[in-house]
């Protein structure tokens, strides 16, 4: 399997990069629109899915890659919805706060992947030796 860690690191920083772009680039600039839209639609979900992935079944069934893509988008939108409405319903919404929370979720999830992978290996070990 591909054990490269750099995609996870990239994912972990993606939220903070987006926050940087969203606060520094002028409103409506193509770069800002692209970065924020892509981030909101993919990154949080990708990180959370990566976090859960080691605990799930191996991706050996047909269509698993498609499922991952669909889930990535669905989870990103769902997390965006939940974070967004939490702020709006409490009347505390600012872009800065919302993006910070999402970036934190993304980072924590992406950086937590080795942990869940370790857990999964631990869980699998007794079965192997048995």
């Amino acid at each position: 399997m591909n054990n490269a860690r750099w995609p996870l690191l990239l994912l972990a920083t993606s939220g903070w990069l987006t926050l940087l772009v969203a606060t520094q680039a002028p409103g409506g600039a193509p770069l800002r629109v692209t970065v924020t839209v892509v981030y909101l639609l993919t990154c949080p979900g990708a990180a959370v899915l990566a976090l859960f992935r080691p605990l799930l079944a191996p991706r050996d069934h047909t269509g698993d890659a498609m499922e991952s893509v669909a889930l990535t988008v669905a989870l990103s939108v769902a997390l965006g919805i939940l974070v967004g409405e939490a702020f709006f319903m409490t009347g505390t919404f600012t872009v800065y706060r919302a993006l910070t929370v999402l970036a934190t979720i993304t980072s924590v999830a992406a950086l937590g992947v080795p942990l869940t992978a370790y857990r999964a290996r631990q869980a699998a070990r007794p079965k192997d030796s048995a």
């Binding site: 800002r32 909101l40 859960f52 799930l56 079944a57 269509g63 889930l71 702020f87 919302a98």
Partner: protein, 1139 residues
């Protein structure tokens, strides 16, 4: 006798290929098939617990049995057996989906029963005994086999004429199980020369299982006696006859010479005839001719079925063994644990070595890339030419797996790398202790003819290798196989760069060319791999050969349609639109684009080789044509509801909070998920408003539906035509227009994604395979344990909570669908159902309770009002414009047509629907529960249509696809699809006169918002005006079409509020009355924009001419003054009466 014994052993080993000791305890008491199913269900396939597609397997078995019968018939001699296509090849490819080892026992049973009449009664006994260890069952086995071979009637072991047993071997290693092909093997008894007869048999027996292999093996015998060797030589149409002669001569010259040489000629009768005459004359070479295009692996399997020696080696017609090859090879087999030995391949370039060919690329031609060059070496891969196997081990593994092979005729060569990767894992699954050896002293000289030394051949071979690795059943194994292939190239890259830069290296290799070719090879192999991974559905029912026209149409129609569509948009004049909607202004080129696209797509369905990216491309262009057309054509956002949603988002952005008050738009603030998300997106992107996002809503939401839809369809079928046809029908028939920028569109995508994951990942128990005569079913998803399901449920909580907090109806639909899935035992998951139900309940009871409480009486009233609901949804046709009547009928025709086709499809595929199709069926039917549940503002019928559409679209497509008859595909299907798209344009864009807004209309309303003081009243005939709800918290709105019909209907109606009847009779006084009641300092505005006329008159809400009468009356009245007027209409301000 020994021959028979050996055959029994082999037969046993083949029927119980696990290599585990087949103890009687493991076998249930049932008759043969079930017992064998238990003991023989190998590796992955056994796990999924399919209980066999019994009938189909039996059919295959029966066929196989007939083959045996034919073979065993007394009159047939040895020569007849040289054409065993029915048993050896015909059955293997199409024997049907095996599930487990059930079929093989059935085959044996039928084989016994199907044999000549002698001793038929003993068959069941033998079956019962068959579960026992092979060695002990010889008595009974011999008795039965005597029946099978009575034609020969020999007792002295000269059983070469008839002692063949047909065994149906399931292909294992595919954890997906149900769809795995079965191969019926004609396993001949070994034809052992008298001198060797004893020893090999003794060795063969103990190695039936890996556990008991070496102990009973007399070491002396193994050391002194070599196994017998058979060689299968494969030759294709491009085979040089001279080379073939060289190969055969070299084989004959070996010491010891091979016992048998089987020459399999692939699709070249001339070569077969020539070989029969020139080479087969002496009797040492058996020539077999394969007439169909089957691929390299199948060709070798055909040869394998003819060989009866202990060891079988595979060569192709261009490779000749060096002296000493056979001896070195057979020496390696002295160890009984060795199941495969790979020789060394030396290349000989008959057309000269190209100067771009570095040594690292040798694997492409079949040169192994692992293993020592000096000594015998255990290896972990089987890649390379010059392979040999212990025949029984190979037969147990089912021969060369044909799934991951090159496509027939694609690359004339060795079986692809994926075949060997798959074969290796099958061999090791069956015998975990088995050893694979690399024997460098067994050298095969591979002649590389001119056709194989071209760059084009090399690149296509690289791509084919990558593709074949993608088709290996275990994904990770395939990926590792590819990585192993590319490793030598990757490792050689630095050196190649150095040589290219410094012009060093071997003289016969141009450094820069070699480097370039290595890079190209990596790209081609990876591209092939990706392409293979994308090809995940089955092309059953698609013609084997693709006609030139089919190919041409399917490849050119897409770009042509896209260009035509783009050009046609320039000719659209929206002003000319009539009451039939958008369809009246679309030029002929637009329809030409649609027609071309449909024809191309239908042609594509008939092309078995097309990459599924093409299907996806067509579908995306269809989505673009259907949903991006307005985004490109209209000067501003389409549809006043979408404008309203943009206004709500604007409110959230301005306030940073939802509105807790119970206002007319309160529902949006009680379920604020969608609005929050897009408010966040708008602000993060720094856009002034959500308009530029909302414009692309329909196209994006439909595109986002594609993946979940594909996945849902693929859980119930793997038929490529059906999956993509259903997707196409779904998008063509999704006319209800709920895909605009809205919460329901967002939640629909999430809803389908959640359901797909539940179907795929929450499978609990076994699935009864049921009947599937057309072979449509998909291999079921793997069973998940409780812990995994728990993790999945945790993961799914986010989308479920998002759905529950974003929309009112969709969460209920989700609960209904999960409850419907609960009915199926395999998907019975209380946890996810409870999780969803509680989340929805919690949200409705806590967050949204305020609103629900306020509207409670309305909701209760509409409950169970199914009849009212039915009426609610349909347009009242009283005074509607003729165009709108046509539009309404077109909607109904499309909806009814889809349902009719779906019923037809359901009847036609009823057997598929009973088992494999069940998840889709229950998911698709669950929304029907809501027919009785509430009117949902008169929309429930449309919503139900939308939520059932995945099912109905699938079944409608299933009526035509997979199309066996050509005329259905070429004549009926395009017409049906064209009608669907036409119906879509009527249904979705039939009210476009009112749904599109010009820039001037937007300016009108914006001007009102600019000048109107807080608390002002904005009046318009309907709410079909852009930006109607901008700054809505500051203003009151009154839409004239929402006025009560009569005073009796609404008791206590204030006097100043006119009824609709009063308004139509005398508009101006009624308006003045309505608009006078504004708070101090506020004003009242009447907006008469362009869209109002279409919105209110064509739909028949007010009589024709009402808007004009209002306008004339207002302009004539001295109580109104024009605030702003432009081509988009006018805004009138009520002049307050002077006190």
């Amino acid at each position: 006798m020994e021959g028979r014994q050996a055959e029994e052993v082999i037969d046993e080993a083949v029927t119980h290929p696990t290599g585990r000791p087949a103890s009687p305890a493991a076998a249930p008491s049932g008759p043969g098939p079930a017992g064998a199913g238990e003991t023989g269900g190998t590796a992955e396939t056994g796990k999924t617990g399919r209980t066999a597609k019994g009938r189909k397997a039996k059919k295959a078995a029966r066929r196989a049995g007939k083959a045996l019968e034919a073979a065993a018939r007394p009159g047939r001699g040895a020569d007849d057996r040289s054409r065993p296509a029915t048993g050896g090849h015909g059955a293997p490819t199409e024997a049907g989906p095996a599930g487990d080892a059930g079929p093989d026992a059935a085959a044996r049973r039928d084989a016994h029963g199907g044999g000549p009449d002698t001793a038929p009664d003993t068959a069941p006994d033998t079956e019962a005994g068959a579960g026992n260890a092979a060695g002990t069952g010889t008595e009974a086995g011999a008795g039965t086999e005597a029946g099978a071979e009575s034609g020969a009637g020999t007792e002295d072991g000269v059983d070469r004429t008839s002692a063949e047993t047909v065994a149906v071997v399931p292909f294992t290693g595919d954890d997906t199980g149900d769809g795995a092909p079965t191969v019926a093997w004609r396993v001949p008894a070994p034809m052992v020369p008298p001198a060797r007869r004893q020893a090999p048999q003794e060795r063969l027996e103990p190695s039936a299982g890996p556990d008991d292999a070496p102990s009973e093996d007399p070491p002396g015998a193994a050391a002194t006696t070599l196994p017998s060797l058979g060689v299968v030589v494969a030759a294709g149409p491009a085979q040089s006859r001279f080379r073939l002669t060289v190969t055969v001569d070299a084989l004959r010259a070996q010491q010891p010479a091979p016992e048998e040489i089987v020459l399999v000629v692939d699709r070249c009768p001339e070569l077969a005839a020539w070989a029969e005459a020139e080479l087969g004359g002496t009797g040492e070479v058996t020539v077999v001719h394969e007439e169909e295009a089957v691929g390299a692996a199948a060709v070798r399997n055909l040869g394998l079925a003819r060989v009866r020696s202990d060891v079988v080696a595979f060569l192709d017609g261009d490779s000749a063994p060096e002296p000493g090859w056979a001896a070195a090879l057979l020496d390696a087999y002295a160890d009984p644990g060795v199941v495969a030995v790979r020789g060394r391949v030396a290349l000989r370039w008959s057309a000269g070595k190209p100067d771009w060919f570095p040594a690292e690329l040798g694997w492409v031609l079949g040169v192994p890339f692992t293993g020592s060059r000096i000594r015998t070496d255990p290896v972990d891969d089987l890649y390379g030419g010059a392979l040999s196997f212990r025949r029984r081990a190979l037969a147990e593994a089912g021969g060369f797996p044909e799934g991951p092979d090159h496509r027939p005729g694609e690359v004339a060569a060795e079986p692809a790398g994926g075949v060997k990767t798959e074969l290796r894992s099958r061999l090791l699954d069956l015998r975990p202790q088995a050893r694979l050896l690399h024997e460098p002293s067994a050298v095969v000289r591979l002649d590389v003819p001119a056709r194989r030394s071209r760059l084009s051949y090399f690149l296509s071979r690289c791509a084919a290798e990558g593709r074949s690795q993608a088709e290996v059943a275990r994904r990770t194994t395939g990926w590792e196989g590819l990585a192993a292939h590319l490793a030598p190239i990757r490792q050689g890259l630095p050196r190649a760069v150095f040589r290219a830069v410094t012009f060093t290296g071997p003289v016969d290799v141009k450094g820069y060319k070699a480097l370039l070719v290595m890079l190209l090879g990596i790209v081609a192999a990876n591209a092939g791999y990706v392409a293979g991974r994308l090809r995940t559905t089955r092309a059953d029912g698609t013609p084997r050969e693709t006609g030139q026209w089919t190919w041409f149409l399917s490849r050119t129609a897409l770009p042509v349609a896209a260009v035509l569509w783009g050009l046609s948009l320039r000719e659209v004049h929206l002003d000319a639109m009539t009451d039939l909607g958008l369809i009246t202004v679309l030029p002929a080129t637009f329809w030409a684009a649609v027609a071309v696209m449909i024809i191309g797509f239908v042609a594509l369905l008939g092309d078995r080789r097309a990459l599924e990216l093409w299907h996806a491309g067509y579908t995306l262009v269809l989505i673009a044509v259907l949903h991006a057309t307005p985004a490109l054509l209209y000067p501003s956002l389409r549809y006043s509801w979408a404008w309203k949603h943009v206004s709500v988002i604007d409110y959230l952005i301005r306030h940073g909070a939802t509105d807790p008050e119970i206002t007319p738009l309160a529902a949006y603030h009680q379920w604020p998920g969608f609005f929050s998300f897009f408010a966040m997106m708008t602000q993060s992107a720094g856009l002034p408003d959500a308009l530029s996002i909302a414009v692309w809503g329909p196209a994006v939401f439909n595109t986002a539906m594609l993946l979940p839809l594909l996945l849902l369809f693929r859980t119930v079928t793997r038929n490529r035509q059906l999956v993509w046809g259903a997707v196409w029908v779904y998008f063509s028939c999704s006319w209800v227009g709920q895909d605009y920028f809205s919460p329901q569109a967002t939640t629909l995508v999430l809803y389908l994604t959640v359901l797909v994951v539940v179907v795929r990942r929450f499978r609990r128990g076994p699935i009864r395979a049921g009947e599937d005569p057309e072979g449509l079913g998909a291999e079921p998803p793997p069973v998940s344990g409780t812990r995994r399901r728990l993790v999945w449920a945790l993961l799914l909580f986010a989308p479920i909570a998002a759905i529950a907090s974003s929309h009112q109806l969709t969460p209920l639909m989700l609960v209904a669908a999960l409850a419907a899935l609960f009915v199926l035992r395999r998907h019975r998951n209380l946890g996810i159902l409870l999780l969803t139900g509680l989340t929805v309940l919690l949200w409705d009871a806590v967050a949204a309770w305020q609103l629900l409480e306020a509207r409670f009486s309305d909701i209760v009233e509409s409950l169970g009002d199914a009849g009212g609901n039915l009426d609610d949804g349909l347009l009242s046709l009283g005074t509607a414009a003729p165009g709108q009547v046509i539009v309404a009928y077109a909607d109904r025709a499309l909806s009814g047509g889809v349902w009719l086709l779906a019923v037809g499809g359901a009847v036609l595929r009823r057997r598929w629907l009973r088992r494999p199709g069940l998840p889709l069926l229950v998911i698709g039917l669950s929304p029907l529960l809501f027919l009785a549940a509430g009117s949902y503002g008169g929309e429930i019928l449309f919503r139900i249509y939308l939520f059932t559409l995945p099912l109905t679209a699938f079944l409608a497509a299933a009526l035509f696809l997979p199309a066996r008859r050509a005329f259905v595909r070429t004549l009926v299907l395009p017409v049906v699809l064209m009608l669907m798209v036409t119906g879509f344009f009527f249904g979705n864009y039939g009210k476009e006169q009112a749904n599109y807004f010009t820039r001037d209309e937007v300016r009108l309303v914006r001007e009102v918002h600019r000048v109107a003081p807080e608390g002002s009243l904005i009046v318009a005939p309907t709410f079909f005006l852009p930006a109607a709800y901008d700054y809505y918290e500051r203003y009151q709105h009154s839409w004239l079409d929402e006025l009560p019909r009569s005073r009796e209907a609404v008791p206590g109606l204030p006097d100043y509020v006119p009824t609709r009847v009063e308004l139509v009779q005398d508009p101006v006084p009624a308006l003045i009355g309505l608009m006078s009641e504004v708070p101090q300092g506020a004003k009242a505005y009447l907006v008469l924009n362009r869209a109002q006329k279409a919105a209110i008159e064509t739909a028949g809400i007010f009589p024709r001419g009402t808007v004009d009468r209002i306008r004339q009356g207002v302009e004539a009245s001295d109580r109104f003054r024009v605030l702003v007027e432009n081509s988009g209409g006018a805004v009138y301000e009520l002049i307050p009466r002077k006190p």
